[in-house]
Symmetry: C2
Subunit: 397 residues, 2 copies
């Protein structure tokens, strides 16, 4: 057997396997109630509709849905996406959009086009871990921007932009993963003013904004600073993640290079999946399905928050997001979230210790991320009661 | 409008747009007969079967075909691929395979995992252009290995491996794009002996071997040197390219890093497309469809070769491949293939000037690549008659 270690590139050394996967291996044990996931419920998929959607795609597009296609995306899908975005208040021509294999693939290609080794990315802290795994392959450095409940702090962002050259700022603006937090309307305006003034570039990752259970819609940061924002989104949370359909709306120069990079990387994204999504959007399935998904998730979130009020002891804090997939708990400073994790797992309840979402390994030690989308209300209530007991019985060393 | 030129990475400067696309823009003119393509005929897609395949996938896999999945690939598809490969004499366990978004995406990820800037790749000359566009993003250098009609020359490969450090050797071993050539059985053995002796790594790209119209099957190079080969293939030529399904069989260390890189780049490939392909393979559609595809293409190839014998003047040479999608013509040394291209285009016949498939811009100036898969026999005969006339009327300056 040959050893090819010497053939690996320098960049493989900065690729990281998902650390969370290691610790979560126990989650597949029988009887475990997992609040650790970050993925949609199977019941949220429009399986019955898929029979009709498939037929319509074959009838309408035939061979075009099976043939090679343009790198930019399947033309009817780009049209459909422009219409979908208009419904969110985002103005986009179809020819300003690019289709990718999920939003993860947009992040990877942005890294490829923008990052030379050592380049600096500004991140809110904590951050979406998948973005770090996409960017990490291009050997960047990171700077954390402090946040409060309304999102990244304007003064922290501004001083970071003044202190060093920053390639881009990466933000999940609405119902963030892992914290569930949303940037307030006023904060969006402040952040947009700064990035325009500094001619900075923001990557706004927006997978969750359609999953709003109450409260008022807040427009995308992109709408406040369209020339300075790459808006990234996905159909994974409102149609089906297995189809791997993400997309972006980017300033012209960046869009052009993203397209060139994508041509080299995989020619184009799956045309058949794009045709399915076109039918899903244009024949109105999406407008019936998003309310179904909300009707599934909103009671689960409510059940979790209610159970937390009843069972999680004083000293632990959480905000109550108006949507999304996560609740974020901050324990008292001396609590070790990973120690709590292992005790909870013994009691057959899993979550994700929040420390994994921080760049700085000394941060977030007392935090926990809880997901409510894949477990029903009764199981959520029991799991939170168990977690409350584990927390009360635990005393930091 | 902001100018973000200064934000681009060093690597974007080595990304090349497909030069062929520029010159081929005229091909979409009305009345043009294009022998320039490199893609399957629409009639080769199993559109009628797709209605049933879709239903079977939804019945059998349901939500699993729509949910997030493992990076490695959809488990039933990995099983199906192992069976398909066994039919080609290639021994693979499902857990030695990885699924990608077309074979282009395997090549890109191999570049990501193996290439640091300046690393050297050995290529047969001429080479598949898509591979250069995948590898190019990782800033390699290239060395051309001379070939004859049986494939790369053993002594040329051996001396290249001795002269410099070579990360890998990239070869399309059967019905190569652009030449249609196949490496002979004896040559495979010789090349395998060299790469094993030198502990070198070969990427064997094999998209065309199922499109064999006559002659005897030649086993993959992989079977002669399994520990030193990354075998890359695709369902694009035998099912549907729009589904973007490629895969590889790689030595363990390389497979492991490919999987880590893919996780960061797009989490996993489209599960729904993988489920469709599983059904296509396991329910026997593939065994009926490949003969249909051959029955479509073989007469087109025969018509082209026959018309060439009748119309292409002495001094022009070509081999007669036993399969694939291309015929390669070498004109006398003073012929300018691009000048011929523009004259042929005036007569409404397009092909690809062969010089685009060479690294060295001084090579292949008199060559032409002709595709026969997307045009029917009658149109092929007329087009070759026209091309013959263009050639006879052309005299090099």
């Amino acid at each position: 057997m040959s050893d090819f270690q010497h053939l690996l590139s320098q960049r493989t050394q900065s690729m990281q396997r998902n650390q969370i996967r290691e610790i979560l291996k126990v989650v597949s044990q029988p009887g475990m109630v997992s609040l650790a996931g970050g993925i949609p419920a199977e019941e949220s998929f429009p399986i019955e509709a898929m029979y009709k959607i498939n037929e319509a795609v074959l009838d309408r597009y035939g061979a075009a849905a099976l043939q090679y296609d343009r790198t930019e995306g399947f033309a009817p899908f780009l049209e459909a996406l422009a219409g979908y975005l208009a419904g969110k208040g985002i103005t986009a021509n179809p020819d300003e959009l690019l289709v990718f294999n999920g939003s993860q693939n947009v992040l990877d290609t942005l890294g490829k086009v923008l990052l030379s080794p050592g380049d600096c990315i500004a991140l809110e802290s904590p951050s979406y871990l998948g973005a770090l795994s996409a960017f990490g392959a291009y050997q960047p450095t990171y700077v954390s921007i402090a946040s409060d409940e309304d999102g990244v702090l304007p003064e922290a962002l501004e001083s970071a932009l003044e202190r060093q050259a920053i390639k881009f700022i990466y933000l999940v603006t609405t119902f963030q993963n892992p914290t569930g937090r949303s940037m307030s309307r006023a904060r969006r305006q402040q952040i947009a003013d700064i990035i325009k003034r500094k001619n900075a570039l923001v990557i706004e990752d927006d997978p969750y904004s359609d999953l709003r259970y109450h409260g008022e819609v807040v427009p995308a940061l992109q709408t406040y600073a369209p020339d300075n924002t790459v808006y990234v989104s996905t159909l994974s949370k409102i149609f089906a993640p297995g189809l791997r359909l993400g997309f972006c709306l980017a300033p012209p120069l960046i869009r052009e290079w993203l397209c060139t990079a994508k041509q080299g990387a995989d020619l184009h994204s799956n045309s058949y999946a794009q045709a399915l999504a076109t039918e899903y959007i244009c024949s109105g399935y999406i407008n019936r399905q998003i309310p179904n998904i909300i009707a599934l998730y909103a009671p689960r979130q409510a059940a979790m928050l209610e159970a937390m009020d009843a069972h999680i002891p004083a000293g632990y804090r959480w905000i109550k997001p108006e949507g999304g997939m996560f609740i974020w708990i901050e324990g008292p400073p001396d609590v070790d979230g990973e120690a709590l994790y292992w005790r909870a797992v013994e009691q057959k309840v899993a979550f994700v210790p929040g420390k994994f979402f921080y760049i700085d390994p000394s941060e977030g030690l007392s935090t926990m991320r809880l997901n409510f989308t894949r477990v029903d209300e009764a199981a959520i209530k029991r799991a939170i009661a168990t977690l409350g007991r584990v927390i009360r019985e635990y005393s930091p060393d």
